[in-house]
């Protein structure tokens, strides 16, 4: 069957890296110059990837959620509330990524009603199964669904969306290919019902008019994502009551 096996080579062509670079630069050129070029996955600039979210993938946790946005797949599980060992109020340990952990913490600091469980700790564990871009915002949204699933009191669900900036264009929900070549990025974590921004980070070079546009775009997407998450929670609630 495999008579030809000996003749095949497995080494990549020398120019493979260069070609990949060229392709990326072409992608970047399109994104910078053109008005609304369909992106690599067929979306237009202001289209988000389809969101699939589900509660309860892990049974041992008090609450958990799974989110899949395109190639990005995340599981978040919430344990507790349990008695605090140390004098800390709220802790989350991300998988080896301190930066994301502290950002996740900051996004929820203002949303969780900490006074409803004094002297106790809630542990939030986030695991990125596959990283396909916009990881942090997806972790934040997924964590808020998991916290709601665990019955932790919050003022509102926290949803999060990021945008990338390419030249004069703003594209929403970037994939990792797009993130690798962006001029700047902006992440908003938002409480849709209270219309409050709990976390906002930005890098790159922005004029303040463009920041306003980008933040408004993110808030709009966050509200819509919030509706999807609310529906998921309602689905779970009706399933358990039946």
């Amino acid at each position: 069957m495999s008579a030809l096996a000996g003749t095949g080579t497995y080494s990549p062509a020398a120019a493979a890296g260069g070609k990949r670079r060229e392709r990326k630069e072409e992608l970047r050129r399109h994104l910078v110059e053109d008005a609304d070029w369909p992106r690599a996955d067929g979306r237009s600039f202001h289209d988000c990837r389809p969101a699939f979210m589900q509660t309860g993938p892990t049974t041992a946790a008090s609450g958990s959620a799974y989110a899949e946005f395109g190639k990005t797949k995340v599981i978040v599980s919430v344990f507790g509330p349990r008695e605090s060992k140390k004098a800390m109020m709220y802790s989350d340990v991300g998988a080896d990524n301190k930066e994301y952990s502290s950002m996740l913490h900051k996004a929820f600091e203002g949303a969780v009603m900490l006074h409803t469980f004094p002297k106790t700790t809630v542990d939030v564990f986030a695991l990125v199964l596959e990283s396909g871009g916009s990881d942090l915002p997806i972790i934040i949204s997924c964590a808020s669904l998991a916290l709601a699933d665990a019955g932790i009191m919050m003022y509102d669900l926290v949803t999060s969306v990021s945008v990338s900036c390419f030249g004069k264009n703003i594209i929403i929900d970037p994939t990792s290919d797009e993130e690798a070549w962006q001029d700047g990025s902006l992440v908003v974590a938002f409480m849709p019902a209270r219309k409050e921004i709990t976390q906002l980070t930005l890098n790159g070079e922005w004029s303040d008019g463009r920041i306003t546009n980008a933040v408004e775009l993110c808030m709009d997407a966050c509200s819509k994502l919030g509706d999807i998450m609310r529906d998921r929670l309602k689905d779970t609630a009706t399933l358990t009551s039946e």
Binding site: R28, K98, E99, S102, K106, E109, G110, A111, C165, E179, A180, W181, Q182, D183, G184, S185, L186, M191, R194, K195, E196, I197, T198, Q199, L200, T201, L202, N203, G204, E205, W206, S207, D208, I211, T212, V215, E216, M219
Partner: protein, 287 residues
């Protein structure tokens, strides 16, 4: 940690509402700034910046290294912050780890720009010596010697001063070796190239206390904050980075207002810092 009585808290908040803070400043007024350059002789550039009682030492070291495979045409810059136990006893041992990491991340976000290099404080392609082979690695270190609030702004200012003090040795490359061999480099110890620091942004942190926001909060005022927004702005008024701290959520319109206030204040701060740098350099040249 700041321990304040109810009366003191009320006094601080009331002062901010009336635009007269406990040390006599207005809401958008900075504390006295003092700048000294060349404080660490071994480093390529260094600075000591005092902002009220907050004191920062920043140093820049340049080493020859190899550029990364993904960006063969760019040098590398890394930023680290350490908080000394001399500033606060709680910084002893691992106590400062969390704060140091947070400050480092914020500075990296504000100074290193986007993935493509837009808005970066330092033009990474200016650090290249031989493309794909040799580049300069810049190590920027900030040390918090004394802490009385507004660490991020003071750190960014110290780094800006240290970069303007930095001289990168001139490198002569012998062009005889074949393209796949390591090129021979000769680092000059007499000729130095100065950095163009005009694009290095400053960070302005607006601390929200009650309904108003203040710049350059001291630690007592910081203990009363509901949230703070740090905006990094360059000379052209472009926003290069933004971080929000503090738990409370903010209304979008408040954030936009804070950005425009920060932009306005930043231009005054940049010119103040520039004149201080010029004075410090003149003083150093005299010695």
């Amino acid at each position: 940690m700041v321990g304040l009585s109810e009366g003191e808290k009320h006094f601080i908040r009331g002062g901010i509402t009336q635009d007269l803070r406990t040390d006599g400043r207005k809401r958008l007024q900075f504390r006295a700034l003092s700048v000294q350059t060349g404080v660490i002789p071994q480093a390529n550039g260094s600075a000591r910046v005092r902002l009220g009682a907050t004191e920062i030492i920043a140093s820049v070291k340049a080493e020859l290294g190899k550029p990364s495979i993904l960006h063969p045409d760019k040098g590398k810059v890394s930023i680290f912050v350490d908080c000394s136990p001399t500033a606060e006893p709680m910084f002893e041992g691992r106590g400062s780890e969390e704060l140091s990491a947070e400050l480092s991340v914020s500075l990296q976000r504000c100074l290193l720009g986007g993935k493509s290099g837009a808005g970066a404080a330092i033009d990474l392609s200016s650090l290249i010596v031989v493309e794909g082979k040799v580049c300069w690695d810049l190590y920027i270190d900030g040390l918090v010697v004394s802490s009385d609030g507004n660490l991020l702004d003071a750190l960014a200012a110290a780094i800006k001063v240290a970069l303007s003090d930095t001289g990168i040795p001139k490198v002569n490359v012998s062009v005889n070796a074949a393209s796949d061999e390591e090129p021979e480099v000769d680092v000059s110890d007499e000729e130095f190239l100065q950095f163009d620091t005009s694009s290095v942004p400053v960070i302005i942190t607006l601390t929200k206390v009650g309904r108003h926001y203040i710049v350059d909060a001291n630690s007592e005022e910081e203990s009363q904050m509901s949230s703070a927004v740090s905006v990094s702005v360059n000379r052209h008024g472009q926003i290069c980075g933004l971080t929000k701290r503090g738990g409370a959520g903010l209304d979008p319109s408040v954030i936009f207002d804070m950005i425009s206030v920060a932009k306005h204040v930043s231009q005054q701060f940049i010119s103040l810092l520039d004149s201080e740098i010029a004075a410090a350099e003149a003083e150093e040249a005299e010695c």
